[in-house]
């Protein structure tokens, strides 16, 4: 026999659940409408792969949706950010925000960037790849301190491969120089692959990069990490000390998250933020993230926005101390 009271309660619960759902979930994205995900990387690059991974995952979360990844490489990811900043504020365009490079782009006046931090509404951070410094396996340097001592003894002579001028790697080396009072000789490359080639070939003594850059080579035993520039050792290289432990309190790495242009409905931004959180926590995606060589590092809207500000301050500081 159906108890009227039970029925009422059940209906009430159902209605509440339904209503609750309707409030908690905005109608974003509408099925069939295309959501464009911009990224500044060339095809096959880390940014591109990250964007595709997340786009796939988002499509699974929102069945019937259509997330299109559009690569807009050019001007060292600057073009992609410009595109995001200029895109319509209807919530159907967003893209990758990669710190600290993002900050460098608008803090460097010669780049004439048409945007700054206020042009964006960061949604969430997805992954983190801590900075790391590597030497060939047979190198005489066993710890970061060895390298710094050598740099102190021969100022401007110890060669460290970095990617491009004022790139993240270059700024990391500069930060190290400022923290330890030494001078390195940065050698610039077009990408980390050619840098790796020079490292393995013995043309440079060390290379600054991120853990993800070096994983394959570490596993093969051809290079060694001297230090990791994070607050805690990396899960991929547990016995490598942090730079802080070696006396150089520099914290840096690649964080990759997602951002809308400024002015988008905050409810939509929060929706994406929650979705990214869900992706980070799902076991199958954790496997995928590990394959890319990254650590998941979810930051929600507020945290990511604060992080963007703190990175901007950090980069501003380093840039101001570069002589030229």
């Amino acid at each position: 026999m159906i108890n009227l009271k039970c029925l009422t309660i059940a209906t009430a619960v159902a209605l509440a659940g339904f209503a609750g759902n309707a409030f908690a979930q905005t109608a974003w994205p509408e099925p069939g409408k295309v959501v464009t995900v911009y990224n500044g990387g060339s095809p096959g690059s880390g940014q591109d792969l990250t964007a595709r991974l997340v786009a796939e995952a988002l499509q699974k979360i929102h069945p019937g949706s259509n997330f299109q990844v559009v690569a807009k490489p050019g001007a060292g990811t600057q073009l992609a950010y410009q595109t995001i900043a200029d895109s319509p504020k209807d919530g159907y365009s967003f893209g990758i925000m990669s710190l600290p490079t993002f900050a460098t782009l608008y803090l460097d006046p010669s780049r004439q960037a048409g945007f700054n931090r206020d042009s964006f509404a960061p949604a969430a951070n997805f992954i983190f790849d801590p900075g790391a410094i590597a030497v060939p396996a047979e190198s005489p340097y066993k710890t970061l301190k060895d390298l710094l001592d050598a740099a102190k003894a021969k100022p401007g002579e110890v060669t460290v491969a970095v990617v491009g001028p004022k790139s993240r790697e270059h700024l990391d080396v500069t930060a190290m120089e400022q923290a330890a009072g030494v001078k390195f000789n940065p050698i610039f490359h077009n990408d980390s692959g050619t840098g790796l080639n020079n490292l393995l070939g013995g043309n440079v003594e060390a290379q600054q990069g991120s853990v993800g850059d070096f994983l394959a080579q570490i596993a093969a035993g051809r290079i060694r990490l001297l230090a990791v520039f994070a607050k805690a050792p990396s899960a991929f290289a547990p016995d490598v000390p942090t730079a802080e432990a070696s006396g150089v309190p520099v914290f840096s790495g690649v964080t990759r998250g997602f951002t809308f242009p400024a002015g988008v409905d905050p409810a939509i931004v929060k929706q994406l933020s929650d979705d990214i959180g869900a992706i980070v926590n799902s076991p199958e995606q954790q496997e995928n993230i590990k394959n890319l060589g990254f650590e998941a590092n979810y930051m929600d809207m507020e945290q990511f926005t604060a992080y963007a500000k703190s990175e901007e301050d950090r980069i501003k500081d380093i840039l101001s101390k570069i002589p030229n």
Binding site: S42, P43, A75, G76, N190, T194, N197, N291
Partner: protein, 502 residues
């Protein structure tokens, strides 16, 4: 002989119907994509990357690799038939390939290109199998000074692209150097010659420039002076004769060696390999005056070098985990997404994936040959399509290809600009290929010398630090002066030669 056992076992897996199907699809799609001017191998792989996410790793990589070397052949088809480069690397084949087509020998050109590509690609893959560790050590021997010397050698082959006027060729070459320096300075990060355009901060992209200079200019020149549409009787045979084979044999051998050597060195590209091969062929040819008018060596050499480079560029990828060229970088991404870290450990940890992929490359190269040779008859029919339809279609694909590189309209403007420039230059008899060569080699050379000098803190002697570097530089000087040696030889032999050859 565990290695051998793995190799054979790899064939077993590569020859399963499923994997054969993937290779086939990859070859077909690669060829189709390559035929579209502007969308080269990198573009093709990017387009199809998402499809491969749904597939299991071995199959996905087999297909991507097939697209990779398939698209080079597709590019050749467009180049030979329509004088529009299918992609940057085909520019070297364009001179003689299209000349052959106009002589009715398009089928021969396409066949030789297919055969040469097959031989080059297979030998490069076998090199990977048999000598990978030794070869990758060789790759590591190329530090900045050696790379610089290699680039000087590459630039020296310019001597053979001169055409009818040396000063004009030199002017164009230097123009290419200037174009190559547009962008952000590699060491100081300051913008250089960008004239305030933000998209130029990354430098001029090859595709819009090459599509404009060679592709669009061809369409424009055609508008004035239409190439006569070949009728059926003009087509002199679809397949090479014994004489053709004999003439190309040397070029194929040289092209393979060159392609493999260059492919090993990260930072070089297929375009470089085919240009250098063209230069080499012209240098050693008994009748260099035939080049530009349908010399079969001018097709056989570059095409073989092209494909050999493409396959050999996978060696540093497999052994060191370092991609040798941008297209290979995409393959690297595919590996990573599938959880495979390419590098020395890959062979040990996942032999059941790596070997089938390598075997499939051999199978794929063969498949490409088998697929395309019968299709040559079909491709050649394209020559019979009236210009009124062909030209608009070519423009369609040039525009599409140019836009898709960076999803950028700016590239389309660059392409138009260079199209007009190319049109003017061609009408005034300025050679265009030096521009393409220096555009590629210039930045690489400058980068290398500045890196080298950074390491040595300004000491120029680092450029001569190894036998390899000095040897390459000496070869460059030799190559540059080669035309003078030949001139002397021709002049001394002059009277006699005429008697004998008449």
């Amino acid at each position: 002989m565990e290695l051998f056992g793995d190799f054979i076992a790899g064939f077993g897996i590569a020859l399963t119907p499923e994997h054969l199907f993937y290779a086939l699809v990859g070859c077909l799609i690669g060829t189709l994509v390559g035929v579209l001017p502007g969308i080269g191998s990198a573009g093709g792989m990017v387009i199809l990357l998402p499809l491969t996410f749904q597939m299991e790793p071995t199959g996905a990589i087999i297909m991507l690799a097939a697209i990779f070397y398939g698209s080079y052949y597709g590019g050749t088809i467009t180049t030979i038939l329509m004088n529009v480069p299918g992609e940057v690397a085909s520019v070297a084949t364009m001179q003689d390939g299209h000349a052959m087509a106009r002589q009715g020998r398009a089928g021969v050109a396409l066949s030789i290109a297919a055969i040469g590509s097959f031989i080059g690609g297979t030998l490069a893959t076998l090199a990977l199998v048999l000598m990978a560790p030794a070869l990758s050590e060789m790759a590591l021997a190329f530090g900045p000074p050696e790379f610089f010397a290699l680039m000087v050698l590459g630039l020296a082959t310019l001597a053979f692209l001169a055409g009818s006027s040396m000063p004009r060729a030199l002017a164009m070459a230097v123009f290419g150097l200037i174009l190559g320096s547009i962008g952000t300075d590699p060491t100081m990060g300051s913008p250089r010659l960008t004239m305030g355009f933000v998209p130029l901060l990354g430098g001029l992209d090859f595709v819009p420039v090459v599509m404009g200079l060679f592709g669009l200019s061809e369409v424009l020149i055609n508008a004035e002076n239409p190439t006569p549409v070949l009728t059926k009787k003009d087509i002199k045979g679809l397949y090479p004769s014994v004489r053709d084979f004999r003439q190309s044999a040397g070029s194929i051998v040289r092209g393979t060696g060159l392609g493999i050597l260059l492919g090993l060195i990260p930072g070089t590209s297929q375009a470089l390999a085919s240009f250098v091969s063209y230069g080499v062929e012209k240098a050693v040819a008994k009748r260099p005056e035939e080049f530009g008018n349908g010399a079969i060596q001018g097709v056989a050499g570059p095409e073989t070098a092209n494909n050999a480079h493409a396959n050999a560029a996978l060696i540093p990828l497999f052994t060191l985990g370092i991609p040798g060229s941008p297209s290979v970088a995409i393959l690297l991404g595919a590996f990573i997404i599938n959880g495979l870290a390419p590098g020395p450990l890959l062979f040990e940890q996942h032999p059941e994936i790596v070997w089938p992929i390598i075997c499939s490359m051999i199978v794929g190269n063969l498949m490409l040959l088998i697929l395309n040779v019968p299709l040559i008859g079909m491709w050649v029919k394209i020559l019979q399509v009236p210009t009124s339809i062909l030209s608009p279609v070519i423009v369609l694909f040039i525009c599409l290809g140019t836009y898709l590189v960076n999803n950028s309209v700016f590239d389309v403007w660059v392409m138009i600009l260079f199209g007009l420039l190319g049109y003017t230059l061609r009408k005034l008899d300025f050679p265009l290929s030096p521009i393409a060569l220096t555009l590629i080699v210039g930045p690489l050379m400058e980068n290398a010398v500045r890196q080298a000098l950074s390491i040595s803190r300004g000491d120029v002697s680092i450029l001569f630090r190894s036998w390899l570097a000095c040897g390459l530089l000496a070869m460059a000087v030799f190559v540059l002066t080669l035309p003078l040696w030949r001139l002397r030889a021709i002049q001394t032999r002059g009277a006699l030669g005429r008697d004998v050859e008449d």
